[in-house]
Symmetry: C2
DNA sequence: ACAAAAGTGTTAGGCCTACACCCATGA
DNA sequence: TCATGGGTGTAGGCCTAACACTTTTGT
């Protein structure tokens, strides 16, 4: 079973897809890693990912590998950079198309201990396999850039959330603090979030209002040339 | 010489790099295409690009192919998307890492007719080979997004330029018209362009002032958290 | 003489920022 | 009772956007 049946006139690289999956626990950004069970880098942590089949796109590959290795299904991944350093894999020439996705931690079934997947806070991420340290750095940069101009933060939050949670999310990603009142005003003025349920008249003072992202409203505003900004 | 000496246990795709090269003639955005001399798509226009060698990165490949096919040297290319549709090349499975670059038309030596390369205005681009129509669409989108937040427009202009030329460039890319006075004010207030030479006291009224982009100033401002916006 | 290019300033409105206090809850 | 979390409004400054006329040159 070690036959080598696929032959070419010129050497071909292998192609892999890797997934940087971000989550948010209400306080800090988390990233999903798996512990490698085989060489190279056995025992080290890495992003879910693997070799592309000849009859699938890299995005399909990313989703397939993600599900195989972590059980996460139906995640909408987006490629962000292709890493092609000549020696990035010690086995053979491998280029990888890195993807990222944002998931709601609340919807990930807890402790699927059939896999070796684990969530790490950004500040506890260990040194990673291959060039995955670099991939993570670049993924985080993309996330920061992207959240400034697109409402992707909501993908990390539950359907319904409080304004404080939303603010903490922006704080965690952008690493800056916002004035609470200004943040409220700005968010509400944008017109892309709405109150999830009317606040009961007799609500206790400390009960926060709940909001929900309105994707249709956003699409409509965007078409009119509206631009989100942070 | 049709031996197939590079054999693998699993099928491997080929990897190519393609280059979308933008220029600006003072009025419209141009893109550099080459006419294919061989099948498939013989006679059709396509982006410069070609197969990656096993000992080079995709960026190196993009630059090498660009020089081989068009004579353009020392161009700083940047990858923007990896296209991996299964049937995008009729010969075999090929994924391509698309790059783009902005060049000063004034510095490209005219009419290198040893090559089949030609500049096309955006509105005269013919139907292209492979999935290059789609690649162009996405490249143009990236260019639009990018020029809103980074001073890349200057890469398309000569070292020294007039405010009107700069405004025409923004108009050509973003397809919106700016009020001339507001454009002047905004650009000058940003602090990233400077007068190239003091306007002679006796300059005729119609002689435009010349400006130059100040990259150091921009780097300095950027470090202080300044953000460009259009 | 007429069309085209370039230079120039003001105003009003909207947005951003900074800032402080009260109430209710849970420890 | 004390610390924490949550809700709420205003004023000043800055930026943006809208807007018109004059001069000169080339045709």
């Amino acid at each position: 079973m070690s036959e080598q049946n696929f032959c070419y006139k010129y050497p071909h690289p292998s192609v892999t897809a890797d997934c940087v999956i971000f989550g948010f626990d209400g306080t800090t950004i988390k990233v999903l890693l798996i512990q490698r069970g085989i060489e190279p880098f056995k025992g080290k942590w890495a992003f879910p990912g693997g070799f592309m089949n000849i009859d699938e796109t890299v995005e399909e590959c990313a989703k397939r590998e993600l599900e195989e290795e972590t059980g996460l299904k139906n995640v909408s991944v987006e490629q962000f950079y292709t890493f092609s350093d000549v020696n990035r894999d010690p086995r053979e020439r491998v280029i990888t198309v890195a993807h990222y996705a944002l998931v709601k931690l609340s919807e990930v079934k807890g402790g699927d201990d059939a896999t070796s997947a684990r969530w790490f806070s950004m500040d506890e991420v260990p040194s990673l396999a291959f060039d995955h340290d670099r991939i993570l750095r670049i993924a985080v940069n993309r996330l920061k850039e992207r959240i400034c101009f697109e409402p992707i933060g909501f993908e990390l939050l539950p359907e319904v959330f409080t304004m404080t949670e939303l603010q903490n999310l922006y704080k965690a990603i952008l690493e800056v603090t916002f004035d609470r009142r200004n943040f409220y005003n700005k968010m509400l003025k944008l017109g892309i979030i709405e109150e999830a349920e009317p606040r009961p008249a007799n609500a206790a003072r400390r009960t926060p209002s709940k909001y929900r992202f309105n994707a249709e409203k956003y699409a409509e505003l965007k078409q009119k040339g509206f631009r989100l900004e942070f």
